[in-house]
Symmetry: C2
Amino acid sequence: MARAAPRPPEDDMARRQADEPAGLRARFGPDEPLVLDAGVALSPFQIAYQTYGRLNAEKSNAVLVCHALTGDQHVASDNPVTGKPGWWEIMIGPGKPIDTDRYFVICSNVLGGCMGTTGPASADPATGEAYGLTLPLITIPDMVRAQAMLVKRLGIDTLFCVLGGSMGGMQVLQWAAEYKDMVFSALPIATSAKHSAQNIAFHEVGRQAIMADPQWRGGRYLVEGARPSAGLAVARMAAHITYLSDMALHRKFGRRFQDRDAPTFSFDADFQVESYLRYQGEAFVERFDANSYLYVTRAMDYFDIAADHGGSLAKAFAGTKTRFCIVSFTSDWLFPTADSRQVVHALNAAGASVSFAEIASDKGHDAFLLDEPELFAITRGFLDAAARARGLAGPAG
Amino acid sequence: MARAAPRPPEDDMARRQADEPAGLRARFGPDEPLVLDAGVALSPFQIAYQTYGRLNAEKSNAVLVCHALTGDQHVASDNPVTGKPGWWEIMIGPGKPIDTDRYFVICSNVLGGCMGTTGPASADPATGEAYGLTLPLITIPDMVRAQAMLVKRLGIDTLFCVLGGSMGGMQVLQWAAEYKDMVFSALPIATSAKHSAQNIAFHEVGRQAIMADPQWRGGRYLVEGARPSAGLAVARMAAHITYLSDMALHRKFGRRFQDRDAPTFSFDADFQVESYLRYQGEAFVERFDANSYLYVTRAMDYFDIAADHGGSLAKAFAGTKTRFCIVSFTSDWLFPTADSRQVVHALNAAGASVSFAEIASDKGHDAFLLDEPELFAITRGFLDAAARARGLAGPAG
């Protein structure tokens, strides 16, 4: 398929529109369609992204951060929708483990998302109405293909590092398998090379909760002026439990009652953990599109790198020269360490350079987003060593 | 409160009504109110139950089986609603671990349930309409108090054994704490003396799914001719995942597709695990009342024996002469072995006779309902030894 010459990011920066959340947009027109795994071409489409730090003259210091299921491109600066800090500001910024004085950080909203990149809430150019379920299904490889088009558009031939946790880690693995020459180093965190039956099951519960909401309207809620908020909130609540460990919930809430010492003998949010979950559900529907939730969970369910390579994960990584660091957390039961070990074994079988760390934490899957000094030290150390190997300059100053 | 003289079970057998599922009913009139933990008296009310085997002349061979969240009294014979075998026929019957040639087995539907015992779907005598949410909240101690009234009605002073798994095990522990003289032996399986924050969280998701369904109608769906089936199905799906282990789901379904080898790129039930879950949800709404689900999950959430005894679980069991056997399963993450160990430690501190077995199984919480030879052997052996101590005759024949 025809590919336009790379254009500098300034082109896109100039295209910011007042009617969209602040940020950068890369638009791909009829001359640059994206052929999806579902077998159809998506065109036109756009990718919303943010950048932090400066791309050096050699274009050798670009770090691509891949976000998780409900994340977005606002990784290290205020989110214009929620007004909250970026979702990984603890990790990314001047002097932080991913040091923006040193690296040029790119983070783009995934295909199928709802923060500016083309997704089911975007207008279908053929009708002018929101796609809804008429958007073809999206896969993790599709998301990565779109990111690769963005990276090329930015004039970058090789990413210094691709990293991310959870679904972000799936994208990292897909990058490493599919674009071997474009990935100098890769840091997949709390992730897996395929989604497990249990994880598919939890996602299916969330989807059924959304689709059971009459306000979902067969996916046409945006066109019909409705919102399946109740169903989406239930989906979020169920998922949120899986992000935390039993121990984290025990420590945070235990069996403590809300506002009093005894039960109310009602179905009010008696326990603090109930109140917390309800809040999580309510806050989520303010910032996320229900159909995007269907699309992105489905993408994770379909993810299975080995299946795409004749059943062999090692084959997927054959010939790789990427430097890998794999990280898992002891209390993560959504993407348990065993999943990471499978990736490590496959990389070893492929002769890759790989280090592996299982971090002791009782915070569950969400540990990758939280204050985990060992994760910060590992990330900083891995990037430092890769930078030396890449011949990058040391920290600025 | 006044108590009527015990009547033989035949009295109730005569009262079977054609408009209710086949089975026994014990009715408690205005002279026998049940004072609930919520602070109000429930009267009149009824308990639906089944019996298997024969009560001996000494009335010393009665075994009370307590059912789990969505179980019922049809433990060892066909269920008249579903047409399926009793839920624990693998365990209970002639020559089986709980040998009905030897023991008189009683199983009653819990208070708040929907299989004949008074619950939110029962008619409020004051209005003639289904209670819905006007029924006071029910606790596990309330359920056990109602069972104790049934046992006394049957003329039984001491139960040879009280046993059950999951919420059934909670009732066993409550029996042992509250009716020390009535319980010769107790076998709580895969259970806990208090519900964890994670378990409360999962229950809250289920309740929110039901209450989010517009057909729930604020709990008045029966009066208004509606049914919150979609919400109840989602609740069941979410809960069902917690009954199985990650490994059991992997072994049963893995990532296998339904009916074909490749994804459909749709939101159909592509994976076998999705189809299975949807079926579980659909089948459940055919047999269970949504408000009962709210009430019974709430009862489990409130359960905390230690809290009812000044914060000390050992104090709850002080002075007990009951013989205990505690059983857990290695892959049960809903009621993990740590929960059982806490009970064992408290019983030891109370000077009780207690044995403990953690059974190696990868089937998850539901292992207690499945073909687990070690569970059968432990149950048979524990009952045999207790029978000798009780001076019961050996197996018939």
